[in-house]
Symmetry: C2
Subunit: 370 residues, 2 copies
């Protein structure tokens, strides 16, 4: 077996998920050298001792066997199946992913949206999450979530109900069913989709692992939708992670009388989250224009590369789904109307926007081509 | 009686509300001259004929008697009671207002918020409107609405329940009860607040009068809150009016499964309306900073006058109610973090914002002083 794979498998047991020190050193020195230093007791002095402390329990061969037995595989950077979006995590990038399921993770992550929310959700939230899960899956988008009670499970189930692809990112090993009663759900996710973890088989979920897991959920999706969340909630942390990764952050509104929607409203009010009410709204945020703006196409020459910051602000303010009056665009962009009118004409020339009876609308990008 | 008052009373019968031709000519020539030209058949040629056509039915004395009998008075520009905010309507400014009620309109309009929404509202919307009406009134704000079924009535009733001041702007004469069953509601509004119309006594509400009435509701409030609205609705038009008047436009979210909240969500999604969930959120939008930014204080020297456009953008992005991280402020402002940090320090120096454990919050203005 390739020494890098082996070393990464070992590091996934020695280090906790999202360990930035390990991530940075692996990026600089390679996994093999980092593991060798840990073994030799020369890794980062005292700070390295915590990794060495786990060496006695290390059994890479045993982990690989356990993974095989559970139908899981090890996926590392460089593998075809490695999902490029998690590279955006930088030093927090997983050293490896343990993956089980019939899908292929790189493909599943190509057009994916993360849908998260409260465990103690309401029937309303559950219904909206299931509808979003189904709607996204029907349009060929992968639904990423955390297989928790409540919103997570409803989102997975919505995707499964239409035979869509869904990815469950776990805070424990892929062979550790948590919550226990989601045995059947996780089995269904594996049938067409994927169950993913940074942790080797047999690992138990812990509070900090849940928190670090959220960043992988946020990274895998082109955006994160919070369906229901109390003011303080894990789902909002996932949204913060998505935001730091420059992913779209979206929140579903609900009754102002519902504490389970309070976190969502707060996100819209004070954090600039986009309000989304259905699948179309979500795709508005992560859709076709997003395809072009996605990291894998960063190198391409795009018309909007010709725009300065003011131009980008106006482009962002032009709606994709329906046309808006220049005054409305100006308000959203925070610019004066004459400036906006001038730039709208320029956007029209670049094929980025077009006029419909005096109102302006963003021009959807032709897919394909690259 | 002053000839200007008399002429305006006459014009309020000869012209429909919001007639921009009349508004522009009255502003240029005065009401007396405009009325004289209409009588002489020399007003605006053919376009003036529609006003002349109503001359046979004109009976200013009768209107004034009917108003007095209904406990109403005529309020015209220049009167102490004339509400300055409606002057922002420009050529669409009412030529006169017929007012009944114990309140004083100029004072009631000083700190006012308009609360509007669907007639066919849900129990949820009704509850939220009543809570907002009561919450605003309790904090000394006037609640302006249209006395219609549903949200309007709930907003008025909420204000009345806490002995607050509320203003009902009607699409017919102040003595014409519409809808009929709001007889008691309008009587209660008159007791502490005001019933207002552009139309002389006895006038029937019509479709176009409802639409034009909305602009007066929008003008009287420092902002307009839409509590529930279908995708196409009169309430959203009122919000558009408020927007054109540079008033705050706010929408209350609700279940995405409710068609009665669809218009509100759409306003937030595509029109830049602020999402508000309670009275505090509304005051965040129209509150203390708004007092200083309000037209009547335009001449005062304010600290923010020292800010350039970028500075104002950052100030707008700093929340009033809770502190936000510089990164969040930067995102809301659409600026990079170093720039925002530099400006935050400047805002601190000007006493416009302050730091709380690394997070920034807008500093509320001391009231009074002017």
């Amino acid at each position: 077996m390739d020494p890098d794979r082996r070393a990464r498998a070992a590091l996934s047991r020695l280090a906790e998920p999202g360990d930035q020190l390990i991530g940075a050193r692996v990026a600089a020195l390679g996994a093999v050298a980092v593991l060798a230093r840990i073994r030799a007791g020369t890794f980062e002095g005292e700070r390295g001792e915590r990794y060495a402390a786990r060496l006695p329990g290390l059994d890479v061969e045993g982990d690989l066997v356990a993974a095989r037995r559970a139908g899981a595989r090890l996926v590392v950077p460089g593998d075809e199946e490695w999902p490029a979006p998690v590279d955006d995590l930088g030093a927090g990038r997983p050293v490896a992913l343990w993956v089980s399921g019939a899908g292929r993770l790189d493909r599943a992550a190509r057009r994916a949206v993360s849908v998260v929310g409260a465990r103690a959700c309401t029937h309303y939230g559950e219904r909206v999450a299931a509808d979003l899960g189904a709607g996204l899956a029907q349009r060929g988008w992968t639904v990423v979530s955390g297989a928790a009670f409540g919103i997570d499970a409803a989102a997975h189930r919505g995707a499964l109900a239409v035979d869509g692809v869904t990815v469950a990112v776990l805070a424990g090993g892929v062979d550790v069913v948590y919550p226990r009663s989601h045995d059947r759900l996780l089995a269904q996710v594996r049938e067409r989709g994927l169950v993913v973890s940074e942790l080797p088989p047999g690992s138990r979920p812990t509070r900090s692992r849940f928190l670090m897991r959220n960043r992988v959920i946020a990274a895998l999706g082109r955006g994160t939708v919070v369906v229901e969340a109390a003011l303080r909630s894990g789902a909002r942390r996932t949204a913060d992670d998505a935001d730091q990764l420059s992913r779209a952050v979206m929140a579903v509104p609900g009754p102002v009388t519902s504490t389970m929607s309070a976190g969502c409203h707060e996100m819209v009010r004070t954090r600039g989250a986009a309000l989304v009410t259905d699948t179309a709204d979500v795709l508005d945020q992560v859709g076709e224009l997003g395809v072009d703006a996605a990291p894998q196409r960063r190198g391409d020459e795009r018309p909007q590369d010709q725009l300065d910051e003011t131009g980008m602000r106006v482009l962002d303010a032009v709606p994709l789904r329906r046309a808006a009056e220049p005054g409305s665009v100006a308000r959203v962009a925070g610019l004066d109307v004459p400036t906006v009118l001038r730039i709208l004409v320029e956007l029209g020339r670049l094929g980025l926007a077009h006029q419909e009876a005096g109102r302006w609308r963003r021009t959807a990008f032709r897919r394909g081509g690259t």
